[in-house]
Amino acid sequence: MMKSTELPPYAQAMGMEFAGTDNGSPLIAMDFAERAMGRPGFLHGGAIGGLLEMAGFTALEAELERQGADVRIKPINISVEYLRGGLPERIYARGEVVRAGRRVANVRIDAWQSDRERPVASCWMNFQLSPKKT
């Protein structure tokens, strides 16, 4: 898995970036570009999903680093609620680790644009945690 200071190639290609931290979790942001557009004038649901996942991953990595846990993490599943159309402007996402146990971690993630009180999408993700192979 990538370090929590560096986003993987897909995220970089999509223009995702760290935009600081918020209550211990990294903020992930993405500027609008043609490569993120779905129906005309709106962000693609998959691009929003990809951003949510990146915020989930990085939030969990930050939490595991705090705990000093050196483990591999793999996504088990994700369930996205699309709340509003994503506008052609900058979008943010932040994950909240609800629980990081020995084998499984549960993370909630929200994405918003100009108004944080009006989220664009919300999701939960479950991750499998396993010891790193040496």
Binding site: A11, A13, G45, G46, K74, N77, I78
Partner: protein, 161 residues
């Protein structure tokens, strides 16, 4: 005319059409935008199902150590395939938005292999369409992901800008 204007005109044309041609739609819609970036392609379709795919690419990778794809492009592919399965079933394009989409990652996709999604619309209501699908990297019997979702039908005016 820029790409988004060209898309709008195409959407208007598709909205007026009495039939939905998944192959023509894909050719037109996967040229630009996010689907174009991922490199999605139409494979085949039936009465209520459709198959789309994209090739492995190093800028779609989620884990540089292993070359395993990020799950983002797989969400995008399943979003498109499940969405198009609705129009494949109704035989007509109708504006709709994703209400929710759940994806179970049953295993990691093999590095460098193309990904194929097969999706079906298994139930249709007046304002909602229920969909499900799988994504695989060569063997449909051993999927990398399972998806289930719901699309809401919306008015054309609010659908695209």
């Amino acid at each position: 005319m820029d790409q988004s204007e060209a898309n709008e005109n195409a959407f208007e044309r598709f909205s007026r059409d009495n039939s939905f041609d998944p192959s023509a739609w894909s050719e037109r819609m996967n040229f630009g935008g996010h689907s174009g970036f991922i490199g999605m392609r139409y494979h085949q379709h039936g009465d209520n199902w459709i198959e789309l795919g994209f090739d492995w690419r190093d800028d779609l990778v989620g884990d540089p150590e292993t070359g395993v794809l990020a799950s983002g492009p797989i969400i995008s592919l399943l979003d498109n395939a499940t969405s198009m399965s609705v129009w494949t079933r109704t035989g007509q394009f109708r504006p709709q938005v994703t209400l929710d989409l759940r994806i179970d990652y049953t295993r990691a996709a093999a590095p460098r292999k193309p990904i194929v999604a097969r999706a079906e619309c298994y139930q249709l209501r007046r304002s909602m369409a229920f969909v499900r699908g799988i994504a695989h990297d060569g063997d449909p019997a051993d999927p990398v992901a399972h998806a289930a979702g719901i699309f809401m039908l919306v008015e054309g005016q609010e659908w695209a800008k």
